[in-house]
Amino acid sequence: MNRTRVLVAALLAVLAGAGGAADKVNLNTATKEQLVALGLTESQALQVIAHREKSGPFLQVEELLAVQQMSKAAFEKVRDQVTVDE
């Protein structure tokens, strides 16, 4: 019984870990709808897309702070939900 519990716990831990990076939204491919779903306003989402179209792919998540209309608060809201890694 105990062994089964340990195995189930280990499996859950592995599944939880596997979901981490994969669940993040890539700033370089995200649609407006995906960015809005993260908590950005529609206007901010459009600015994120305009930024990458103008200056190329994001090189760091923190580059979001160079996007027009991106407040520190908005950045903090999404920073753990986004990535630039392929």
Binding site: S55, E62, E63, L65, A66, F75
Partner: protein
Amino acid sequence: MKRAAVLAVLLFLTGTTLAQERVRLENIKTEWQDAYGAIVYTVLANVKNVSDAPVAYVKVKVQLFDKDGKLVAERAGYNAEAEILDTEGFGGSFEDKVKLVKPIVAGGTDLFRLSLDKADIGKPFRTTKVELVAVR
């Protein structure tokens, strides 16, 4: 409108022992800026002369590494008062230009600022290394 914020920075102060004894980098910050259309990554720090003698200039190297620890970009620069040392065709030879630089007095502080153009970085990076490379 420019937006800038302090970002986490992975800092290594791996300059020579001698350099560390004379100068210390403090309050290191990094930020992304939209400089009138050019997106730049800027490293800022205070350069403190902790010795009891003036320091003519400090040279600092900035390196950016990707998630696998591979070097993505590298650049070096001088403290703000000594930025003339980075210019070419102005002020004569390097030694001539050193004479034009206002030294950092003992116990004094100067700013260090170095910006890398996003286009020159080119690839995603995760960590920033800031290192003292020369103190005179």
